[in-house]
Symmetry: D2
Subunit: 461 residues, 4 copies
Amino acid sequence: MLKNSLKNIGRSWSNLAGSFRGERFERVGPDLSSGDRELLRRQLKKWLEARGGEVSSRKHAAQIGELYLSLSPVGRKQFLQLLAREFGPDREALREQCKQYLTSSDSACGPIEEELLDLLISPRLKLLRQFNALPQGIKFLVDLRKDLIGFCREEKELQPLDREIQRLLATWFDVGLLEMRQIDWQSPASLLEKLVAYEAVHEIHSWQDLRHRLNMDRRCYAFFHPNMPDEPLIFVEVALTHGIAGSIQILLDDSTPDLAPEAADTAIFYSISNAQQGLMGISFGNFLIKRVVDSLKTELPNIRTFSTLSPVPGFARWLQGLTEEEMDGLIGEEGRADLAEMGNDANSPALLLELLDNAGWHQDEHLCAAVQPLLLRLLYHYFHAKRSDGQPIDPVERFHLGNGARIERVNWLGDVSDKGFAQAYGFMVNYLYPIKEIEKNHELYATKRKIVISSAVRALK
Amino acid sequence: MLKNSLKNIGRSWSNLAGSFRGERFERVGPDLSSGDRELLRRQLKKWLEARGGEVSSRKHAAQIGELYLSLSPVGRKQFLQLLAREFGPDREALREQCKQYLTSSDSACGPIEEELLDLLISPRLKLLRQFNALPQGIKFLVDLRKDLIGFCREEKELQPLDREIQRLLATWFDVGLLEMRQIDWQSPASLLEKLVAYEAVHEIHSWQDLRHRLNMDRRCYAFFHPNMPDEPLIFVEVALTHGIAGSIQILLDDSTPDLAPEAADTAIFYSISNAQQGLMGISFGNFLIKRVVDSLKTELPNIRTFSTLSPVPGFARWLQGLTEEEMDGLIGEEGRADLAEMGNDANSPALLLELLDNAGWHQDEHLCAAVQPLLLRLLYHYFHAKRSDGQPIDPVERFHLGNGARIERVNWLGDVSDKGFAQAYGFMVNYLYPIKEIEKNHELYATKRKIVISSAVRALK
Amino acid sequence: MLKNSLKNIGRSWSNLAGSFRGERFERVGPDLSSGDRELLRRQLKKWLEARGGEVSSRKHAAQIGELYLSLSPVGRKQFLQLLAREFGPDREALREQCKQYLTSSDSACGPIEEELLDLLISPRLKLLRQFNALPQGIKFLVDLRKDLIGFCREEKELQPLDREIQRLLATWFDVGLLEMRQIDWQSPASLLEKLVAYEAVHEIHSWQDLRHRLNMDRRCYAFFHPNMPDEPLIFVEVALTHGIAGSIQILLDDSTPDLAPEAADTAIFYSISNAQQGLMGISFGNFLIKRVVDSLKTELPNIRTFSTLSPVPGFARWLQGLTEEEMDGLIGEEGRADLAEMGNDANSPALLLELLDNAGWHQDEHLCAAVQPLLLRLLYHYFHAKRSDGQPIDPVERFHLGNGARIERVNWLGDVSDKGFAQAYGFMVNYLYPIKEIEKNHELYATKRKIVISSAVRALK
Amino acid sequence: MLKNSLKNIGRSWSNLAGSFRGERFERVGPDLSSGDRELLRRQLKKWLEARGGEVSSRKHAAQIGELYLSLSPVGRKQFLQLLAREFGPDREALREQCKQYLTSSDSACGPIEEELLDLLISPRLKLLRQFNALPQGIKFLVDLRKDLIGFCREEKELQPLDREIQRLLATWFDVGLLEMRQIDWQSPASLLEKLVAYEAVHEIHSWQDLRHRLNMDRRCYAFFHPNMPDEPLIFVEVALTHGIAGSIQILLDDSTPDLAPEAADTAIFYSISNAQQGLMGISFGNFLIKRVVDSLKTELPNIRTFSTLSPVPGFARWLQGLTEEEMDGLIGEEGRADLAEMGNDANSPALLLELLDNAGWHQDEHLCAAVQPLLLRLLYHYFHAKRSDGQPIDPVERFHLGNGARIERVNWLGDVSDKGFAQAYGFMVNYLYPIKEIEKNHELYATKRKIVISSAVRALK
């Protein structure tokens, strides 16, 4: 099979181009036998020499790309392992340059630095770069890295290759090269169905649901790369509201009447999703939020408040991991007093929380009254719980604080979906982006890990 | 002045954006005083720390970019020197890693290689990369490198910075990321006037001349970068002809009737110009020719011959540099016999050539008859004259042979303009691109420096 | 209310523009009181005089258009009645010109003809024409005529106005001015949802269903008017198949695998829908089919057969309207013999047909065997049943024969939906468009009402 | 030849499409012999019957269109005469309907009116309408009318046909169907060269001149028809200035520095040209000015004054046509006194004016001082000189007053070109469009022929 692939030079590439675009591309291809690997190794070496010139070298890239696509998952892993093991930087030569560098005067360092740089850009990366000659070649490489990220979990030897590709993609996907576009109901259906597929925060259930999210009091923006014009990289969904929204179910209810955009004073960022797994580790979110804020300020000057309505993905898990002592310590004297006063049947916070395992607990008013102050106090402490690197354990909190936002408000029963209860007992959080303080907030967070918080939330302690 | 620039944060950027687009941007700005330099140094360091976050860091890039644009040439050089001297790679840290590398086992090498790579991507380059956040920021960097190339001639210390930027631009302007577009009389006037400005081979004298070059039997193609959509990077002008054209004056004569494209069997590439000096050293020409050939084959299947009509820029200079002995050696017995037979007044080749200093010599039939075989023989030898690196001294020859073309035909009085006589006594050359042999030719040239030549030209020897 | 409307000159038109585009425009407005009518009458007269000039006259059109949109259905009818009754042609003046015409020599006729023409283009039409100054004004007029067509059924006095508007729209929507565009999955969602709304033949049940109809072995084309770029006028759905398809349920089954377009030899037009009720009486279908055939022939030269898969909307109704004698006459001796031979329980054709009222009858093999030859014979006669004007009673047959197609094949159980049984006992028909015979067929039909029919269908008699 | 044309049905139409677009279409074709005319007559009749159906009828239109284009000017006139003479309305039938109309009651009039209308839309017009099926068919008809207008001058019999076509074009080119687009230096060169060709007021001398007229302090707008997207119908050139400009030579001087558009408070309409002779009699100018004013008010709110800088095309001719007595009467006692006081050599106004025949007279200060008050007074009277229909004799004045503008200012030596002196002794006029008074002005002019004039100009009397 491989032989055919590698030799089948005249074969029309329209097929491949088709399959990139194709919706149902699920060929289950072969693995690589040891003979195939040997053949591939020779092919890659020949390619690397580029003896027929740069132009034909690019043409060969297409053939090797087609081969890659035709392989089974195992075969693809073998392909990448071959690259990782045998086409890395030339260590002999690197050692030689390192030696020279150590004995060189400053004035002689420059040329050696360039030599080092040349040697560190490995042969395998030079090969992979050429895949951009494929139709939709940038997308090809992004998807190849998606495969690679999967393989890396079990095969640590692949990690250096992954980091090399990430470095290359970070240069190509530099935020300065991206284009922000608004997505609305005029957008192509083929693009809209990608929103449905990629939406990672609040699932889109139907075209009706999607249409509601693109209504006149909604906005959706995405970053695109000029060489991947049909593929959003990241997108954010925004609701234009009057006042800060606290309930996701109200936002997503398509029977609520639309607000005239001119009447809105607030923009709520209620969902932000990365669309390309192959770009993991390359961050666009902060820039996208900044660009959307700028765009909305120009389009709708009445909008003065920019806030999120965000999930608290790790709260329940964190809470369930606390020992009874830890929890006791966190709620403190005052918290215990509150609970006692309620005269609740459950005679400890932990027992109380157990009651929340029952679906529908939030319709029990008595239970709610008992548990709400307890949860609010614990949520306050959750915001301040830290990882070993000193950053908050909640990923959403890390992202927004890192962007210069502050924790503005917590919303009891803000998300009453199963997922909302499972993650955070129904809580949602508003992170506020106060235009004039973003830089200062960022600096406080970046240098001192300060959790910037509104006085209302501080009062929950 | 500088203080104002650096602090003038609120100033509208639309001005700057305007000036990038502007046609007549020729502010003569100030140099950098030593106080200014100190201020700039501190600003750059602060920028590098990015304490307000990546987003505001990009915003500062714009201010520093504006500062750069506002400077005099001397000021710009000082700006770049500051970057080159003080923001290079951290040599202390590099030496440390080199030391470790030399003592590490293979399995420990990977992480050190990444460290080295991080250290080798210098702070100054990280700063410069952020300029792409400017409106038309990629173009900004290309133009900055154009300045830099100029300064490098006298200030060698700037060369490493230049090579770093070239490396970055080579990644961004990878040929796989470029778009080929056809340019015709439907194209925007603002684009067409750039052709007039950038045409480097046969000057465009008027809009009438330009229109002729975009007629139905002409084609013009250019590469564009998606982030610089209004700026051609390189463009090629093609004439569709019947048979291989040998005379540039006929091609450029706008009174000749147009050929119906379907009636043409040959495409003549008669001019290829790089449009961006700031991209020097990054080659697109071979890919552009390849893409144009592919495009024409699809559009006009009758076209089977692809050839250039090219100047011979170094012939006259080379000839004038030969000693009498060298020349004698080159023309050989046979050549001398030919000359003797003509019974010419000038009793040596050198004396004969002197006659060619007189304008209008080509209208003297007798002289032409004497000098033509002599020049043809010498031209043959010129094609084989080599530089120290073993490549031909003629740059046009190097380019086309390197692409896999062959020397097909020489054209006596192919260019009777002053420039044509001054460069090559009126000679022009056709380099042929024989579709099926290009790869083989390239390999012969790349590995053995073989000058591939048609039998007709070989007969000139 | 009216007073406000008419005077509210400064009011922003963006509202109205919005409402034209709006999806859920269903304001229930007021009727016109007699005072309002008087006010409107005066306003219309003032408008007609255009004393402030043509430019402001157009501006007033917008206000009157807004008034119209704000009215209840009764109010709109009153509005149109006012126009119809009081703003028709000037009959006094017309009679005067008629008198002169009758006494004029041929050479004096020309000017009178022009006078007549001027008088016959009524004031009300001049007013209505100006509505095209509205945002989306052409669409406004198309929708106004849709209202009008509804009112005409009960108010005959409105018919002349309707015919005047139809005449105007026929000029504006001349087929030479329309643009054919392909619609596919790249098209805007807002356009695709109109297909769902307007599809008149085989309902589109979901986005999944729609996507299937736009797959790679499907095509959809529509005519658009340049002043209504977001509104299809008519669209046709085509399946690319191998051989002529006979079953709509197979075509619409989205689980069948796609055919590579290059492998198809037949194009099946399986649905054609007019999208604008306001354009009733202005025909585009024949031109659309012609353009699609041309386009497919160019794109996919392998496709040589162009056929429809069409319903037989009037068959069941016609059959149920026959008396027993008529039916007996139609099936003839031979038919009755066939039936007798089957030994069926139902001892007359009419009784037999009654059995077909039971849902699921087609799963009874015995019944099918009995009834199939009977129905085929009757279907043959149905094709030849004529209206008083000599044309076939089946509207689909009239349309395709009028276009030059022929009746090629009938398909037993071609449509097993409820609608399919109700209309035609499950029959569908293929009308074939034989490229070379279309003109001849058309002429035979147009001049002699000849029903062109394949030999296979003729054999059913 | 004709036979071939008419029969050559299979011939590719791409040729014709090409020739429409072609720049140098100047085939000199044949006239129509009497045999040809007979053949054409039969062809037209067959076409009219449309026996092969509407679709093929349109196809025949293309062939007849090609025939028309292939004819000599004489042949084209013969073609149109054939149409005019033999394919006019059916007078027999018209008379019949007229008779019936005169004896019908009101309720029976409606149907007869429709009959009349059908009969009055002549067969020749039905044929011509079908030409819009040609590639660029609308443009074809516009150009055919251009021919026709030329022929009409000598052949009065063609006038009714001309008016029929004008009526049709007036419907198709209704201003509500047109699109206004801005033209700038980004526009296609092929469009810009049309500006050069069509500019009728102040000739464009070079691309440099054109570029100046599209600079940042200039604007150019045109109306386009959606079916003729590459052809401007009418365009206007605007200068953004500080204060009302009085000198065309300053406006057109490309060495004057550009004004930042934000700094401008005035928009000067200094040239307005109809681009399509075939649309003569269909007016767009008033609408275009209105749309440009609206567009500029939105884009540049600082602009509050909208004025023209216009020629006075008939002033010199009118003056030279006055008798000595008339002139004497116009300047009056006071004028004569002024002149006497100057002590000029020329002892009568007429003699004085004779001095203005000498080129360069405006550089003679003494002469200028004498002649200026005289000319100003006469110019005042020229504005009030009327045609038999009561409208001003100056066409530019008629146009702007008819649009609701007023005569604001006259500019001595506003146009010192040869043309400027020849038309109006160097005078130019500013017509002001005072937003709030336009409607009132229009009404005063339309109903009472009032010449609205500023107090400054009134003082010239």
